[in-house]
């Protein structure tokens, strides 16, 4: 069946046959082999333009962030210099008084705790929802269900705030009392009275970030190749085992990213928290007590009636939030990076 090489091929005996196994017998033409590094390929003009466009956008983003950071620092220093308290350890917030005395300790605590509790509530639920939509729900239903959860994102934050204040907080009273009755021996559930607490604010935040984490996780899970899911099932995995073996590991970096987006939102949420929390400036481990404040909410509360120092102080607290977000993200990235080469995705 072999097609005989045509005459031209016949004439030209394939070269290199003789030298193939003998390494560099025929020396490269001009002193050393032409080394071409893949890092510096010549690229077409359009490609170059596009690449630089995207690069400029990326650098533009850095510039924007730098400008914001500089803005925050510039506006903050004046107030920090006038502060008679320790900015990091003082709990009270009296920047408009004479002399001004303020610190972020209480609001930072509230920010971190409310965001953390919100994440503890929201992330597992969101992952559950994403799994429900991508793995459990019948196909025809899944996009409708996905849409339903996305609707949570359509509720404006001011409405969440009003709802949290008027509807949720009274309803949460029972649950909080119950937690206090039965789990009161755990300090965080211990409270003299319950009300618009950090816990309630966390629930509101959890509801707000739920659609973000759920929607992005859903998209990530949808991308898990069928082949991986089938491989697991063919090994005799139950549905849950299939999820554990194929879906979750593949989607983990994406879920962490989505969670970081949610966490950012939770820590930065302004108006809803301002409406819900009673804005007290003290650090208390009792999550159910009507107390607590967050940096973002404090800015919203304080801005309208703040004097010059007061504004600087609020901006300084915004800067703190910026830095905290940075630290949290460093940690998240370290977690993702640990097994990067095992990630299922490209790039």
């Amino acid at each position: 069946m072999t097609t005989e090489p045509d005459s031209s091929a016949d004439a030209a005996e394939p070269r290199g046959a003789a030298t193939a196994t003998v390494p560099p017998e025929d020396p490269p033409p001009a002193g050393g082999p032409a080394v071409v590094s893949a890092d510096k390929p010549r690229v077409g003009t359009a490609d170059l333009i596009f690449k630089n466009l995207t690069r400029t956008a990326g650098l533009g983003l850095l510039a924007l962030i730098a400008v914001i950071a500089v803005f925050l620092v510039l506006r903050a220093t004046h107030a920090l210099n006038a502060n008679t308290g320790n900015f990091l350890t003082t709990e009270e917030w009296f920047p408009n008084a004479t002399p001004p005395k303020f610190g972020v300790a209480a609001t930072l605590y509230g920010t971190v705790v409310s965001a953390a509790v919100a994440m503890i509530i929201a992330v597992p639920v969101a992952v559950g929802i994403a799994l429900f939509i991508t793995v459990y729900a019948p196909r025809q239903l899944s996009s409708v269900l996905g849409y339903i959860v996305d609707l949570l994102a359509a509720v404006p934050s001011v409405v969440y705030g009003l709802w949290g204040l008027i509807v949720l907080a009274p309803h949460m009273k029972g649950i909080q009392l119950w937690l206090n009755d039965y789990f009161g021996w755990i300090p965080i559930f211990d409270a003299e009275s319950v009300g618009r607490s950090l816990f309630v604010a966390s629930v509101v935040l959890a509801i707000m970030i739920l659609p973000i984490v759920a929607a992005l996780s859903r998209e990530v899970f949808l991308q898990v190749p069928i082949a991986h899911r089938e491989a697991a099932l063919a090994l005799g995995a139950t549905r849950w085992e299939m999820i554990r073996v194929a879906v979750l590991p593949y989607g983990k970096p994406g879920v962490i990213s989505a969670s970081m987006l949610g966490l950012g939102r939770a820590m930065g949420e302004t108006i809803a928290v301002a409406l819900v929390l009673p804005a007290s400036f003290n650090i208390s481990a009792h999550l159910l007590s009507p107390a607590g404040n967050t940096i973002a909410a404090n800015v919203a509360n304080g801005w309208g009636e703040a004097n010059d120092i007061g504004r600087g102080a609020l901006i300084a607290s915004g800067l703190v939030l910026f830095i905290v977000t940075m630290i949290v993200n460093i940690i998240a990235r370290a977690i993702v990076a640990r097994r990067r080469e095992f990630s299922g995705s490209a790039a």
């Binding site: 408009n96 204040l165 804005a279 304080g302 009636e305 007061g310």
Partner: protein, 322 residues
């Protein structure tokens, strides 16, 4: 006058301004006035940075602010013009208790956290007839910076004497109690919290159907909050000399029927320095707001008319604006 101007600041005067703007625009078609309640301090800042033509403020300009504001009014000066007076009501939610009467001292102790039970002897002494529960008082204050807080704490400081050791100001400084955002937030928190007490402009209390405290005035009477009572209360205030009509409240002079907890909200305007059409519109609008008709039109919104003495001075200064 024609054209459009913007103003910003106090939320306490928003309802009054809305009403005045409506009437004014009906009368002068072609003129629009846009007032946004951003908070008094922001209003003053925006006025200083020339973003708005006038500002609404629940407190008069302080020294440094006055200097900055004067600089904004090139060739003229910034003036504080008292424009509306409102009673601040103390709303409470204690089942089975009606007609609660409290003195400034008792209120100060309650809001300072020195009195923590509703059946405290101090409260009992003033309400012998009431059956006060053995319940913890939940005091509710503003969590955001507020002119209402400023005026209420001025009252506690001025009338409460040694029982109120905190400074007055737009930030709540006493420990304890719980905050709520905005007068509506305070109102709904009081409404949904048993054994609570809080303060807000009278109109919020009335709309929410909450009981209000009768507050003891310098004449020793317990007075229901009312616009007329607030007017009487303010009538003893000292008006500063010159064009800048800063008021200094007087909580000690006994006036029959006076309700002692009130706030005064000012308009801050330039005597000179605005562009001609803006200046004309500001002047025209403020002329209307200081008029008797305008002052009496806002009574049922929870505002009291300026006492005559003050109103006369305001009209005189408005006439000088250019």
């Amino acid at each position: 006058a024609k054209g459009s101007i913007t103003g910003s600041g106090s939320s306490a005067q928003k309802n009054a301004i809305d009403e005045w703007v409506k009437a004014y625009q009906n009368a002068c078609s072609g003129a629009t006035i846009n007032y946004q309640s951003t908070g008094s301090s922001t209003g003053r800042q925006q006025f200083i940075s020339k973003q708005v033509a006038f500002a609404g403020s629940d407190s008069a300009l302080k020294d440094q602010q006055k200097t900055d504001a004067d600089a904004r009014c090139t060739g003229g000066a910034a003036v504080d013009l008292p424009m509306a007076v409102g009673p601040v009501a103390l709303m409470y939610h204690v089942s089975g208790v009606n007609g609660l009467q409290l003195s400034a001292q008792t209120l100060a102790k309650i809001f300072a956290g020195k009195i923590t039970k509703w059946n405290d002897p101090a409260i009992k002494a003033e309400n012998s007839a009431a059956s006060l529960p053995d319940a913890t008082i939940a005091s509710v204050h503003r969590s955001d910076g507020s002119g209402t807080t400023d005026n209420f704490t001025k009252f506690l400081k001025g009338a409460g004497g040694a029982d109120w050791t905190f400074d007055s100001g737009s930030d709540w400084k006493a420990p304890g109690g719980q905050g709520a955002k905005g007068s509506d937030g305070v109102t709904s928190t009081v409404k949904s919290t048993e054994n609570s007490i809080g303060y807000a402009e009278l109109s919020y209390a009335e709309n929410a159907g909450l009981s209000t405290v009768k507050v003891k005035n310098a004449a020793g009477e317990y007075i229901e909050p009312s616009t007329d009572g607030a007017s009487l209360g303010l009538s003893t205030a000292k008006v500063a000399d010159g064009d800048d009509l800063k008021l200094t409240f007087d909580y000690t002079t006994a006036t029959k029927g006076a309700y002692p907890v009130y706030l005064v909200t000012y308009e801050i305007a330039c005597t000179k320095g605005l562009s001609a059409d803006q200046a004309a519109l500001v002047k025209s609008f403020l002329t209307y707001t200081a008029s008797d008709a305008a002052q009496s039109s806002i009574g049922d919104l929870g505002y009291a008319p300026l006492p005559d003495a003050v109103a006369t001075k305001v009209r005189a200064v408005v006439a000088k604006l250019a």
